[in-house]
Amino acid sequence: MSIEPKNVTAQLHHRATGNPPSTLPDAAISNCFPGLEFDFRNVWRRLFEGIEVHEANGFVVRAEGELQRLEGRYLVQVADTPVLLDVRGPAGTQEDASLGSTFIEWSNAIADVLRTSAGQLVPCQFLDPDTDPQAVETVELRIRPLFARSEVTDEQLPLIDEVMVQPGELTQSLCSPWQNDYRECGCYYWAASRPDYVNVESTEQGPSVGNNWMARQREPKQYEPDSPTNPRQISYEDLFRDWQGLLRFIVGGRDYD
């Protein structure tokens, strides 16, 4: 069966195999971690044959057959690349203190492993949090290629393999900006879409005055740090009930009425 779009409107209507336009990166208006349009982290959940990990860290949520013993453990290293790291830095009076462990975001951590070892077995280290001291086991797992291949020509396609991310998964775990995340992500975390310090005016003494975007009242002009429990600021519940009535558009740094 062959059908080819010919003129411009037909071409524009044509949808290539793959994800819907609303999930394409070039349509994104903000970050994608987790993002407003899609949560790219979901792509990595089935990177390893036989196990499925949580999108936000290496926690094994499901495993098949004899690998089931890995459920509840954390993936901490892939080949020579650690994905869970001890973080050190200044804290209090110490210049080099231990700040605990943190998971390294998948796309950054294992891009190189994927590039060099797709389709191959690689040693993966799993940490069991329930043992003391925490036991680490190394298991050889095969890395799935990210991209699908053509059934006809066997060429690699510019299409994420459905084995890696099934329909609907890319839009799971999205941000819900109006109701929740705009409360959550203050202090210029989302520079593009989330105002923080608004209606700013310079004073003769030097410091500026202005409002926290979340302030219920604009007078007096005084910035207060984000706090969902501050009664002078819009709360989570307020947003759930009436975000559209409470949040204000900011144009040129000022409330747009």
Binding site: I3, K6, N7, T9, A10
Partner: protein
Amino acid sequence: MTELFELSAPRSAQAHLVDSGGGLHLLVPDGSRLYDVDAAIYAQLDRLQRTGDEDQLRELLQRLGLDAPRYVDDAAPEEPPVRALSLAVAQKCNLGCTYCYAQGGSFGGPATSMELRTALASVDLLFGDVAAGERVNLSFLGGEPLMNRPVIHAATDRARTIAAERGVDVTFSITTNGTQLTADDGEFFEEHGFAVTVSLDGAGAVHDRLRPFRSGRGSFDRVIERVTPLLERQRRMQVSARVTVTPENLELKETLDAFVALGFHSVGFSPLLRSPNGNHELGSTELATMLDGMVSCGAEFERQVVAGERYPFANAVNAMREIHRGTHRPYPCGAGAGYLGVSASGELAACHRFVGDDDGALGDITDGVDRERQARWLRERHVHRQEPCRSCWARYMCGGGCHHEVIARGRPACDYIRGWLHWCLGAYARLTERRPDYFPAGS
């Protein structure tokens, strides 16, 4: 050309099939989307069209992934801004063409000229709510507009001044019988980049019979004498020929080649479907002959495009551009929406043809557009409310036909319009294979 009538007959509102000789094609009218399809799909669609099973046809289109949210809905545009005006600066004419919709130029009333203040107020209306970067068009028609030259100059100057102040892009056009053109006009039109349309109905005696002076004397030699200097100096201005086709001038190919040779920027044909006294209107036999002529001109256009040559057959050039873009619209033109005509006395009409006609009256330049009448016009003229358009595959390419002709005479030319569009769809399909470079990418 009854074969084209048959091939283009309206079998389904959802799909139309074209065998271009170079391939098999499907037009989905909603969105004017054109596809190449294989023989199996073509045969399936053809079978369903023949049985008239629209539900199954819809299901098949869905299975093929061709269903889509509607491109054209039932809603009429609300209070569309005025972006083009034509001023009937002279409701009088020195020619006596018997088929003229303006009945000798005066639209059935006394011969009048537009006063300067009316023209300037019209220009102000045109620029009323235009924002920087937008585009407007000011055109001059009649009657014979060059019988009121000072007003054309003053209105043009006013428009240029306002456009410069406001950062608006303004274009100018004029439709003239050509008999009064002067070297100064050429200079003026060149300076302001006018699109100049000259009405010419054939070469020599053919034109003379259809477009005589009021004395009865032929006007062709005079027009050519006057227009030739303009043809030679056109750089910014574009001088085109418009041919009104009647039963007396059906030799399209000869006419086209004669005018192309003279150096016209483009040459276009329009069938005469309605004249105030019924004179020279085309019947179905003549429309079949005209379609033959159009296809003959179109075939030459196709040959020239393949050879990489310019051949300014306006009907084909425009059809290729619109089919390529997938232009789809619920009206035949902007009349009564973004485009209005202004009579010499300042009444607004749905277009230049409706001057002095109650059917198309839409306010005046003093009080502006009568939005209530306009809303009714746009609601009633929407192609979804026209019959038999609603069930025709060509409805969004044709838009329902010229309002002025349809209101007065109905739709006698549907077979002709569909036949021409069917041929154009095939020509487009062939040209995209043979000369893809003819079509701009992504527009």
